[in-house]
């Protein structure tokens, strides 16, 4: 049933896009976290999308990895901060807030597109069920 596969495909995209949105939320929430659980400044995370065949045919999408951004964090002169080094500089997370906001809008739009695809497939399925009536 081809039309049922549309649900699997769009569903996989919804999962992937929400994972991306979660990563953005995590990055934005930690944009000022000077120290993480390991004592080091928080590092921005990005998801990796890979096209993957879904059950029953068709190509869906999956998040295959969450990679850390290795760009150096921005430094801030704040001698009063307990995390400051001997020269008074604090290493902040390497989160670029503008980039994250753009990423968020893109993920949100992609999510909406896939919801639209699912709704269309649902309408068509319902019309098919009333065939010959």
């Amino acid at each position: 049933m081809s039309m049922l596969n549309v649900f699997n495909i769009a569903g996989s995209a919804l999962t992937a896009q929400s994972a991306r949105l979660n990563t953005v939320a995590s990055n934005l929430a930690n944009a000022d976290s000077v120290a993480g659980p390991d004592g080091l400044p928080y590092k921005a995370k990005q998801v990796v999308f890979t096209a993957k065949p879904v059950e029953g045919g068709g190509t869906g999408v999956r998040v295959t990895a969450v990679v850390e951004d290795n760009a150096p964090g921005r430094t801030l002169y704040d001698p009063k901060n307990p995390a400051a080094d001997e020269k008074g500089f604090v290493t902040m997370p390497n989160v670029n807030v503008v980039e994250e906001m753009v990423n968020m809008i893109s993920a949100s739009r992609a999510y909406q597109n896939n919801v639209e695809v699912m709704n269309t497939a649902k309408t068509l399925m319902q019309k098919t069920l009333t065939l010959g009536q």
């Binding site: 995209a13 992937a16 068709g58 190509t59 497939a121 309408t123 068509l124 019309k127």
Partner: protein, 137 residues
């Protein structure tokens, strides 16, 4: 008479199957709009339907040769999945190797939905015609 009904419905069945298959391909394109190196694909509907209705396998597939009378005939029933999947011509290239243009895909998706509904309407009308022919006056 029953043969005519069968032939009439057969065409719409093939068309609906192909439309549903194309819908799946377009959904995959939209799902992978942000996947690096994903190449957008589509079905040449006209060629695929001609191949399906004509009984011959669509272009690209080789027919099964029968060299002796004892050989079984290859199944003439065309599988919509046997329709050749083509790659879409790129309009605006992106650095990550993705060739999905979301506007093109959405337009094609909406168009395909409408065509699917049109096929459904044809079948419904076909049924209604037969029913009215069967009714005694």
């Amino acid at each position: 008479m029953s043969n005519q009904i069968d032939t009439g419905l057969q065409f719409h069945q093939q068309a609906l199957n192909l439309r549903a298959y194309r819908q799946e391909v377009l959904a995959a394109n939209i799902a992978n709009a942000d996947t690096p190196n994903y190449k957008a694909r589509d079905v040449d509907f006209k060629a695929a339907l001609q191949g399906a209705v004509g009984g011959a396998r669509s272009s690209g597939a080789l027919p099964l040769a029968q060299t002796a009378s004892g050989h079984l005939a290859g199944s003439a029933a065309s599988n919509p999945a046997g329709a050749p999947l083509l790659y879409r011509t790129e309009t605006q290239s992106s650095v990550d190797g993705n060739t999905v243009n979301i506007d093109t895909e959405r337009a094609a998706f909406a168009e395909n939905s409408l065509q699917y509904e049109a096929s459904l309407t044809f079948v419904n009308q076909f049924m209604r015609n037969i029913q009215s022919a069967l009714q005694s006056q």
